[in-house]
């Protein structure tokens, strides 16, 4: 009996001590971590959305933690302890089958995009393998007062009727849009990205392809890669946008224009509620001034000005810098 007591009791007490010091005490202490500057509690609607996020297992494919590694720069600044003060349950996740969502409310701030993407991810990302969440939407003949139909592209829309989000979809999108990293005062990592050296893009090993005229060259491969990473989710690889949701860049009066001011300004500062070609777009375009350098923005702008039949005069990073200096 003594022996049994020694083994069972010994193993149990050693384990208890270890658990106290490796798990329980650190957890109690870390639970007191104060919120970082600007980190806010969730609104009731956002909290409801977080429950939908957990119930439908979004966290199994999408992380919410940005590591201090170059490869994670695309998802925002490195996560800080104060970012998680109101995150219970924590949704840091363990797998990135899909992209990290820490800052998705800043990079994809358009609720219209979020709705279309949830309804059918392939409507905006043809190569996505995310399941559709059509069960969070209803198809109705008449859009009820106070609701707005989701402008699902015709190829992906139901044969008849309008798609409207359910309460759960609205809550989920509210939660996704609440996922915004707050700038940390004095942190010079990403906030100062405009000044930092540009991130090497895929294909940059290949020599820059000369493009554009007037004795001026830009890196077409880099422009294409940056466009695919930052712009194509809404404007699409074809440059045609999504009718009623996201404006086309192909033949767009601001893009295919000898004067690049409006084009550059829009990329730098974003846009909201603009009318293009007689169509009013309610969706939000995020500003890129904080994330991309002058050179990167010039590359994107030049890619857009020389693709899909557009033939506008190329711009230089100096022009971008000048407009950036002017501010909004």
């Amino acid at each position: 009996m003594k022996k049994l007591l020694a083994i069972a009791g010994g193993a149990l007490s050693v384990y208890l001590v270890i658990v106290l010091f490796i798990a329980v005490i650190p957890s109690i202490e870390l639970s007191q971590t104060p919120p970082g500057p600007g980190v806010q509690p969730l609104t009731p609607l956002e909290a409801e959305g977080r429950a939908v996020f957990a119930a439908d297992g979004c966290g199994y494919c999408h992380t919410q933690q940005v590591r201090p590694l170059p490869e994670d720069k695309a998802f925002g600044r490195p996560s800080a302890p104060g970012d998680f003060a109101y995150q219970t349950p924590e949704l840091l996740g363990s797998e990135r089958t899909g992209p990290d969502l820490t800052n998705v409310g800043s990079t994809k701030p358009s609720d219209v995009w979020q709705y279309i993407h949830l309804y059918d991810p392939r409507a905006v990302e043809p190569e996505s393998i995310m399941p559709n969440f059509k069960f969070l939407f209803r198809v109705v003949d008449q859009v009820p007062v106070g609701d707005t139909a989701v402008p699902v592209p015709a190829a992906f829309a139901p044969g008849a009727g309008k798609v409207i989000p359910t309460q759960k979809a609205k809550a989920l999108v509210a939660y996704l849009l609440s996922l915004k990293q707050q700038p940390i005062p004095g942190y010079a990592g990403h906030a100062g990205a405009a000044l930092a050296a540009p991130v090497p893009a895929p294909g940059s090993a290949a020599p820059a392809t000369p493009a554009g005229g007037a004795g001026y060259r830009y890196d077409a491969a880099k422009g294409a890669a940056l466009f695919m990473a930052n712009c194509s989710a809404c404007h699409q690889a074809t440059g045609e946008g999504i009718p009623g949701a996201f404006p086309p860049l192909k033949g767009n009066a601001a893009v295919d224009n000898p004067d690049p001011t409006l084009h550059i300004h829009t990329v730098l500062q974003g846009a909201h509620g603009v009318t293009i070609g007689g169509v009013e777009y309610t969706s939000v375009m995020p500003p890129f001034a904080g994330q991309l350098s002058d050179e990167d923005i010039a590359n994107i702008v030049n890619y857009e000005r020389s693709s899909w039949g557009n033939h506008a005069k190329p711009v230089t990073s100096t022009q971008v810098a000048a407009l950036r200096a002017k501010g909004e």
Binding site: A11, L12, S27, G59, A80, E90, P202, A225
Partner: protein, 493 residues
Amino acid sequence: MAVTVQDLPRTANAPVARTGGDGRESSKAVTGHTERDDHALANVFTAYIVSATFWLLFATAVGLLLAFKFGAPDFWAERYLTFGRLRPIHTNDTFYGWASIALVGLAYYVAARSSGTKLYSIKLAWWGLALFNIAAIAGTIALDLGYNWGDLEYREWPWPIRLIFFAALLVTAWNLIATVARRSSEDIYLSNWYTIGAVLWTCIIAIVAILPWYQHGLGQVAISGYYMHNAVGMWFTPLALGVFYYAIPKILSRPIYSYALGVLAFWTNLLFYPLLGAHHFLFSPLPWWLQTIAIVCSVGMLVPVWGGSANYLLTMRGRYRDMIHSYPLMFIFVGVIGYLFGSTQGTVEAFRSMQAIWHFTNFTVGHSHLTMYGFVTFAAWGGIYALLPLATGKSPGRLGIALHFWLALVGSFIYVISLSIGGTVQGLDWVHQKPFLQSVVDMQPYYVWRGVGGMLMFVSHGVFAWNVWRMTSGRPGNAASPILGPGEQGVTA
């Protein structure tokens, strides 16, 4: 080498073959308990294995469906069949349905036999089985209805359901300890160290995980890191090692190579394993010291892993050719190799430089299948094929076991290799800062191969179910006894 067990006092209760005339094993010679006790033990052991087999079939059918969805994301995307609801059902049911129930069933049988006594309470064992099943059924329903506790891996069940699981653990701990307390000799056989340790530690894990009032935000992350790995390493690992310590000597009719090495592995596992959980959160905002301790202890794990594996392999020394005669031994051999490779891989993965590439990729999924399948599940199968026929006096056909073995082995090879290569490709895509979608596109062929491997694994589970049926409800005596003689070269009993 004619060493009998009596020559080795420290293994007095080692798995000696006490096979009766009908092929059933009994220990009545030792304690004088009745044949009814043997029947009762056989019945409850059978019930655990049958129940676990059901969960294996269900959980891996769900797994196969999930694998298919990677290529066809719109297939069965309805609310109750959406990927994110089925994924935790797959993991929780393989953990708490299949592996837990099978290994606890084995632990009961091993505890009674190695202690030369009857089970303390057959009734409690049935209660435990009922509680494990109620928890798994309720957990499955809850997850499918969307009651998921924050996608926190392996602790997604709502807390009342985890309390039911906790009750099952308490019942099991009580019953195992009380059984070993009645042992007929002074020494406690190694297997029981591991299994009793496992249930006691897991009771602590369950409490730490359930109590909500002290874990918020980042504090909860600390518990997630702890929980995710302790639920595996302090539960399934020691339970499966307990099977090894009993079944290998049993099949070979020779004592374990080194009792002392087994004890060393026990205490070093206890020292290092609980501390390594935070290696799932390297580069996260968790304190750097917590992450560094996790890495150091991941390296420390090489002591129990290599020590334990060496002990098993040395017990088999000179008898490898006998595996031709014993599929149970082959299952166990694969389990030992899975333990050695899977755990060593875990150590390598834990380095920051490696995590920078493999973290968040499918490499981790490959790793978890190498360990939970290649190690834990093969160990459980080896134990079942070695011990269930001794309890029931019924054997599966040799062809059935062979088919199960090769399908499962080839399937899991394809599964693990495809995800390991694919995960590396995925990680390198990120390191080279390609657009994220590139990593999704590049994974496609590997997802297909994973599905092929998964399909073979699932078919093998169907064969296993058939074998279980033959070991429990079929006619007696299809294949030879799983126990090999003590001879030098493949003398079957």
